[in-house]
Symmetry: C2
Subunit: 72 residues, 2 copies
């Protein structure tokens, strides 16, 4: 399998915790040495495993913020 290198450059927030201790988190993550992107994803305790997630650019995160504000 190909290797995926990543570094969590900023732990921003934990959005929820499951009964098994997985966290849904918002972080800034650098994938394969590239510029960090925002990332919403499930993580096992101590970040030992990652679940599915989405990466968001600064612009996408700002759009999301505007939408959530309008949504009230």
């Amino acid at each position: 399998m190909a290797e995926l290198k990543y570094e969590i450059t900023e732990h921003i927030a934990i959005l929820s915790e499951s009964p098994k201790g997985w966290h849904k988190e918002l972080n800034l993550i650098s994938w394969n040495g590239r510029d960090p992107k925002y990332d919403i994803r499930d993580w096992a305790p101590n970040h030992e495993k990652m679940g599915k997630g989405v990466t968001l650019t600064e612009e996408e995160l700002n759009n999301l913020k505007s939408v959530l504000l309008k949504k009230g």
Copy 2:
């Protein structure tokens, strides 16, 4: 392959559009007939294919909103 049934119950917002016409969207989606959850995901034009994404509960979305507001 197992079948995954889903219904987009509310199109909330398009967060971005790629050069190939894929959209990153925030929607409310019901998966396999369950109560709808918030969903951030990439979609091909006309929702013909879905990319990776995350589902968020109402509580997780509210937490995300609070975090984005504090972040400024």
